[in-house]
Amino acid sequence: MAFPRPRPARPELPRQRVQTLQCGQGAVRAARFNADGNYCLTCGSDKTLKLWNPHKGTALRTYQGHGYEVLDAAGSFDNSQICSGGADKAVALWDVTTGQVVRKYRGHAGKVNCVQFNEEATVIVSGSIDSTVRCWDCRSRRPDPIQVLDEAKDGISSVKLSAHEILTGSVDGRVRRYDLRTGQLFSDYIGSPITSVCFSKDGQCVLAASLDSTLRLLDKDTGELLGEYTGHRSTTYRLDCVLNEQDTHVGCASEDGHVYFWDLLEGSLALSLPVGQGVVQSLAFHPRLPCLLVATQGQVTLWREDTFQPE
């Protein structure tokens, strides 16, 4: 005799702006939540990286040491380290508390567009405009990457990691998934230059945003198209796409100053959130809460669901 499960709460989308962080870093190239979503990192075009508590709106620390604008950053699972990549072609590993650069990995021939830690923060995977993905070792002191994934024919715009996979989106219009466990490379042709890729939370799907103003949800195993989401505008810039915390909605930044959310299954536009006038530079979705981090025009805003009551 089993009780019927309580109906899952209806997923809510962030519609309410609760915080605004004036970053003062020039253009904010990326805003990223940390592993648990309590903090966030903003990458500025003034070569700095800032750590915030976005829920309280407090700036915690500034990390200086990049030689050019910082393009992406990621925090380790234990919040002890930060990795970042910049237009100075370097990937930096930071100590969170001291604010010092622990290591700098040089080897990319161009801007580093995206960086990611693996689960245990032992490897930094960075994708660059030089069409390579490089896996840097954080444990040893070796200066060269563990492995270079140079299969892409054009710049890497996005990299995501799962427990045993490396997902890359490239400007050559392909989404490549390197499966370390099976030792295979799956290359899915999308056609249009990929701007952002991400795994779904259940790890079964891959979301890819491309410059033809389309988001595509692909089955990870077969590469089949599960959904297509259009309505926003993404033709020029490298914009982020996200999935919400429950995998019910798909979100993407747009060049018209909105963030669009679609229902994942139906593909219908669920929300068009006006966040600013300019291009939405970066997006990050909270891992557990309906909470969205949006970077536009030098500031970062935090959006919550309607029912949220700020204390």
């Binding site: 004036q22 003062g24 020039g26 253009a27 075009s45 393009l71 693996n118 689960e119 245990e120 032992t122 490897v123 405009i129 070792d137 444990r139 563990i146 492995q147 270079v148 140079d150 299969e151 024919k153 054009d154 710049g155 715009s157 427990a163 400007v171 390197y178 370390l180 466990r181 099976t182 030792g183 295979q184 490379l185 799956f186 290359s187 899915d188 042709y189 999308i190 056609g191 701007t195 595509r216 692909l218 089955d219 590469g223 089949e224 198209l225 297509e228 505008r233 033709t235 020029t236 810039y237 490298r238 060049e255 018209d256 100053g257 006038q277 300019g278 291009v279 530079q281 025009q297 030098g298």
Partner: protein, 918 residues
């Protein structure tokens, strides 16, 4: 008898000591072995042989010093009281007794010398002995001659002496002449400071500066010339130990004079010991320190230092410095012909002064400069003799003041490097090849050249018709695209494609058909009517294919090399290596994928699966088991392939170990079913990897290049941007490129379509459709903006237009600042516009706004003036209103300013429209 016997005994001479008589029964003593024999010196001390038997060199204590403590120190005597007789130590003080003994190097014993004998006598003897010593088989053995020889001088000498002869003098009547200056007696030993010259011995001969008349001199002693041949095997000038030189002899060898060394040696040989140099006393000789029973050892003490050699040419003797070339300072100041007569230097032996001066050197004046000579260098621009350039060339030539009649009369300045190289017969340097021709073999080059000429002629013929055809091509609908370019081909191919081209050389029949095809094309026939040249045995589909193929081949050979050269680079691999490493699996051609994406058929069609080997360390870091624990490969597996194989450029499914193997096999089966029975060009190429078929290589290469070029949207606009800046032919080339991108679409993709979509059996007709469908997709994909531009103005598509279209489109493209320009240079999606750029554009906007406001004010003012004329009584009010409005506007602009300064967040993306609306 007894007496006789005694007498007999007395007659006998006995030498040596008699052996002891053997006693009865006694054993014969064994001889003492060599190692037990000992040598004792005169005092009964054991002598040791220096290292000869013991293996070491142990001079010093055992044989010389006498005590273990070393030299016995002489008792110290204070020099306070005995300052006067300071003892100067000579070499003897450091010698052993043996050295001073009879057979030592400095014998002190009284030898058989004449009491009367002067030292000159000794010298004579020495000379003789020296010569004999050199000549004798054992050097130094002549020392014994003195012992054996008569102790008394001969009667002749005695007689001579009684007659007043002294040794050292010559024999004969005394001569009355100026005596040759004798050198100070060399045999005088001087230790320490040299004595003043006047005090030296025998000074009576030398010091006579005055020369009394009555003094006569004995004639010079004549030295017999020794003519003994060299019979030994010594080195030239080698002398054995010369005891006489150890103490008394001058150490002539100390200073090795490079210039007079030889003569000195000979003079030494002859006995004329020269002691002109500052004498240094010392013991020299090869035998010093070598034991009596030893063989000669290496002269380990001989150190050959540079200080022994002359480093500068210096005067041999102070008096006569003018040897040979002679110091020029003597006659440097003298000029010209007198020089010879003023020459007072010493003339070399065998030479004489010239009696007549040589003719003076003729001086040639420098050539007179031409009148228009300009003493600075300028670089002439290299001008190719061409139609367009002839005016420029002429102008330039006139400006340089040099008129060249033509290339035939080119001076050497007119040649370029290649021509000069040809003339000089030099080999060509390996460098970045300027054109595609460098990559081709000789034959292909010839072919291309012809085609180029043909195409150039054609281009000249109709340069105007091209753009329109191009635009028509771009806007062509997919159905009639093929037909369009066929007709286009008819126009363009009319005089192109020479018979020299044999793209289908493998298949002679096909080649023949192709040639007929081209010939008829030249004659101006329609493509559609040319089907009679095709093989009637073939199916309709195949004929269609072939016709298309012919068209493409003809098109391809029509294209000029400039379009191709941009697509090639120098070989990544060395030429002599036949095999190259290429990834075993390559991502398939994207054309079929393109169609699949278009049809939203993601999945199998768009997916490529490869075997990929992660690094072992990466697996460990990811906590993943290594999927290929045995392999040493990292990344995609690579295979060695023939370098010129078509397979490097085509992706032909191979049976691999991957998951999709089964499905691929299935595909191949179905493919074999579907395959037409007649073999096409590509099948031929499949079977025999045609290495030398440069055509197929070209096509594939061009295609791969074209694919990569098609990808990013940004470069497309860039190309166009460059295209506009260049002159007409390049624009044509650009169009050619476009055409080629379309015509270069591989026939292979049909197979691909068959391969991949085998599950739903497609008919050949549908495939053709799909093939045709691709054309709009590519043109669409190229860039939307350019398409818009094309629609707007089909004749030309330039960057400005695209810029205007994009700027008109919306907010995102508003910032036309530096940052965007930077971003435009890069490939792929750009970064969103930086904030600063937004501010920049805002400033612009504000300016614009101000201007608009001002304009508005003007109009308002005008209106108001009119109104004023009409309604003067409302003047005050209106003015007030106006002021109010103005202040409002100012305040609003002020507020934007302040907000701008306060926060960086405001009004970045405001378009002028919006501003106007406000």
């Amino acid at each position: 008898a007894v007496e006789s016997s005694d007498s007999e005994e007395e007659d006998l001479v006995s030498y040596g000591s008699a052996l002891q008589p053997l006693q009865e029964g006694e054993r014969i003593k064994k001889p003492v072995p060599l190692q037990e024999q000992t040598v004792k010196d005169a005092k009964g001390r054991y002598q040791r042989f220096h290292g000869a038997f013991t293996g070491g060199f142990s001079a010093g204590y055992f044989n010389t010093v006498g005590t273990k403590e070393g030299w016995t120190p002489s008792a110290f005597v204070s020099s306070r009281q005995k300052r006067a007789d300071r003892t100067t130590l000579g070499p003897e003080d450091f010698m052993d007794e043996e050295d001073l003994s009879e057979f030592g190097i400095a014998p002190k014993d009284i030898t058989t010398t004449d009491d009367f004998a002067s030292k000159a006598k000794d010298r004579i003897k020495e000379k003789a002995r020296q010569i004999a010593g050199v000549v004798a088989p054992i050097p130094g053995t002549t020392a014994f001659d003195d012992l054996i020889g008569p102790s008394k001088i001969t009667v002749g000498v005695e007689l001579l002496r009684k007659m007043g002869w002294k040794e050292g003098q010559g024999i004969g009547p005394r001569v009355k002449r100026k005596p040759c200056r004798q050198k100070p007696d060399p045999t005088v030993k001087i230790y320490g400071c040299a004595l003043p010259p006047g005090l030296s011995e025998g000074s009576e001969d030398e010091e006579d500066e005055y020369q009394p008349e009555n003094v006569t001199f004995a004639p010079k002693d004549v030295m017999p010339v020794d003519l003994t041949p060299k019979e030994n095997v010594h080195g030239l000038g080698y002398k054995g130990l010369d005891p006489s030189q150890a103490l008394f002899g001058a150490s002539g060898r100390e200073h090795l004079n490079l210039f007079t060394g030889g003569s000195e040696e000979t003079s030494n040989l002859l006995g004329d010991l020269r002691h002109s140099k500052g004498r240094k006393l010392g013991i020299t000789g090869q035998a010093f320190g070598v034991g009596a029973l030893e063989e000669e050892d290496d002269d380990i003490y001989a150190t050959d230092t540079l200080s022994k050699y002359d480093t500068v040419l210096k005067d041999e003797e102070p008096g006569d410095g003018l040897y040979g070339w002679t110091a020029p300072k003597q006659y440097k100041s003298k000029k010209g012909p007198e020089r010879e007569f003023k020459y007072i230097g010493k003339v070399l032996a065998g030479f004489s002064l010239a009696s007549k001066s040589s003719a003076p050197i003729k001086i040639y004046p420098p050539p007179s400069l031409p009148r228009n000579y300009r003493p600075f260098h300028y670089f002439r621009p290299v001008i190719m003799a061409g139609n367009e350039n002839c005016h420029l060339q002429k102008a330039l030539e006139e400006s340089t003041g040099k008129l060249e009649s033509g290339p035939a009369h080119q001076s050497r300045h007119g040649l370029n490097a290649a021509q000069r190289r040809e003339q000089l017969g030099e080999t060509e340097l390996k460098g970045p090849a300027p054109s595609i021709l460098e990559y081709l073999c000789e034959k292909d080059r010839e072919r291309l050249k012809e085609v180029k000429q043909a195409s150039e002629q054609q281009m000249k013929a109709k340069p105007v018709s091209q753009p329109s055809s191009n635009s028509r091509l771009q806007s062509a609908s997919p159905e009639d695209a093929a037909l369009k370019w066929r007709t286009l081909l008819e126009g363009q191919l009319a005089n192109a494609g020479s018979s020299d081209f044999k793209p289908f050389a493998k298949n002679p029949e096909k080649q023949k058909r192709y040639e007929n095809f081209v010939k008829s094309l030249k004659q101006g026939e329609k493509v559609d009517t040319l089907e009679r040249f095709l093989d009637p045995n073939m199916t309709e589909w195949e004929r269609g294919r072939e016709q298309e193929e012919f068209c493409r081949a003809a098109m391809f050979y029509r294209s000029s090399n400039s379009t191709l050269s941009s697509r090639f680079t120098r070989a990544k691999y060395e030429d002599d290596v036949d095999k190259v490493e290429v990834p075993r699996d390559q991502e398939n051609d994207i054309d079929d994928k393109e169609t699949a994406v278009k049809m939203k058929m993601f999945g199998k069609l768009t997916r490529d699966t490869f075997e990929w080997h992660p690094d072992k360390l990466l697996c460990r870091r990811f906590n993943v088991r290594d999927p290929y624990p045995d392999s040493s490969i990292v990344g995609l597996p690579k295979v060695k392939r023939d370098k010129y194989s078509v397979f490097n450029f085509l992706t032909v499914p191979e049976p691999t170990t991957s998951v999709t193997q089964a499905t691929k096999e299935k595909i191949q089966e179905s493919n074999s079913l579907n395959k037409p029975k007649k073999s096409s060009r590509w099948d031929v190429s499949d079977k025999e990897k045609e290495k030398k078929d440069s055509i197929s290589e070209f096509i594939s290469l061009a295609r791969s290049k074209a694919d990569t070029q098609k990808q990013p949207p940004a470069p497309a606009t860039e190309e166009r941007g460059t295209g506009t800046t260049e002159s007409v032919p390049t624009v044509v080339a650009d169009e050619d490129k476009n055409q080629e991108e379309e015509s270069g679409r591989p026939p292979m993709d049909l197979f691909k379509a068959i391969f991949v979509s085998s599950s739903d059996e497609k008919s050949s007709s549908s495939e053709e459709e799909s093939d045709e469908e691709q054309q709009p997709t590519t043109s669409e994909r190229q860039s939307e903006t350019t398409k818009e531009a094309d629609i707007a103005d089909s004749s030309s598509s330039n960057l400005q237009e695209t810029a205007t279209t994009t700027t008109g489109s919306g907010i995102s493209s508003l910032p036309t600042s530096k940052q965007e320009l930077d971003a435009a240079e890069e490939f792929g999606p750009k970064l969103p516009p930086a904030f600063s750029s937004g501010r920049f554009c805002k400033h612009l906007d504000r300016k614009e706004k101000h201007r608009k406001i001002r304009e508005r004010h003007k109009t308002k003012k005008e209106r108001k003036r009119k109104k004023e004329k009409k309604k003067k009584h409302k003047k005050q009010k209106n003015k007030g209103k106006h002021k109010n409005k103005k202040s409002e506007k100012d305040s609003s602009s002020d507020t934007t300013d302040s907000s701008d300064s306060l926060s960086d967040m405001d009004t970045t993306g405001l378009s002028p429209k919006e501003l106007l609306r406000r």
